[in-house]
Symmetry: C2
Subunit: 205 residues, 2 copies
């Protein structure tokens, strides 16, 4: 190990990922899930869980970080900076749907991002007057939305933030419906894209 952070040491890395994955998946569906339940879902003893994450808060922070990273990687793979905005947006939706569990975890409880969000990385003492938006100033998703608006493809009367929230919201709803069996898993992306782009109005009408 280098200094403080254990990198990805074969054993600990695997266990750690197992815990984070199980936690995200379970917490997405049952917030307030017990640590014992999370441990069980991860197929790990409660002691082990405590060994990796001393208390609930640290676990939450880690799961949030991990989820943000996972989604980030997925989004990165969509290369939303390239090509026509509409097509980039479709790739983005697909990427987000693929990270279904993480999306449900992060978006399912607004508090989660507020309390354990990226802010933590900057140190917690920083309670500046940041209205909570500038930290997303370089968000590639917002960039894409602005680009689409500038090119006249996306509705410019809607604020980029609102469009972004709509996106998250629809993806979340789609993933959730699929999770409940109300929507076929393979059709989620198409349905979300269709609704997101055109709304519910009949294309014919």
């Amino acid at each position: 190990m280098s200094t403080t952070e254990s990198p990805e040491s074969g054993v600990r890395g695997r266990t750690r990922r197992a815990i984070l994955g199980a936690a995200a998946s379970l917490l997405a569906r049952r917030r307030g899930a017990t640590l014992a339940e999370i441990a069980e879902a991860a197929d790990v003893g409660r002691s082990t869980l405590h060994r990796y994450f001393p208390d609930r808060d640290e676990l939450m922070r880690a799961v949030v970080d991990d989820s943000v990273e996972a989604i980030g990687r997925s989004v990165e793979g969509a290369a939303i900076g390239d090509g026509p905005p509409l097509e980039a947006m479709r790739r983005l939706v697909a990427a987000m749907v693929e990270s279904g569990d993480r999306i449900m975890f992060l978006w399912g409880d607004p508090r989660v991002l507020e309390e354990y969000g990226p802010r933590a990385r900057w140190g917690d003492a920083a309670e500046e007057d940041c209205e909570g938006d500038e930290r997303f100033a370089d968000d590639p998703v917002l960039d894409l939305i602005r680009r689409g608006q500038a090119e006249g493809v996306f509705d410019a009367e809607l604020s980029p933030e609102w469009i972004q929230h709509t996106l998250w919201s629809l993806v979340f709803t789609g993933v959730e419906d699929a999770d409940k069996g109300l929507l076929p898993r393979h059709g989620v992306t198409a349905t979300v894209i269709r609704t997101f782009e055109n709304g519910i109005r009949s294309p014919a009408g």
Copy 2:
């Protein structure tokens, strides 16, 4: 009413409504809020709260029932059975936005409707194979959606249930954003309607 249910007796009715309102408002924003917090928000002693609702479950059921009724009344006032579907839908959105707190409470936690939903009214032992949809068979909102589809106004390739979920989801997001100050309170309805109807595509494009 006469026998078991206390009707609306001036005093008890007022206290009851205060508790239900405060509970919905608080639980909408902080699920897992303590009974003590709810009592405080309702400006009532914890004893009094327990006097009206013996335990947490009964309170939850009551808040759900109350919220469903409140929204129902609001929706009823929108007369969504009359007139062109598109205009009816706009009235519906406006009505739902007006019930912001209740919407946030009911939609914010999917579990809430599953555990304390209308099913409770039928008796809890009824665990028939109802896939959970037939109970909404006569839902006026679904009726409106189907009507709109039949008239060629709403996208017929989207399932009515999906459209309904989209509707709830967008209204929820709008109300939530307004709650956080990200969206001007008076513009929520228009923004939601615009997005819901047309998606994010530029009308010009």
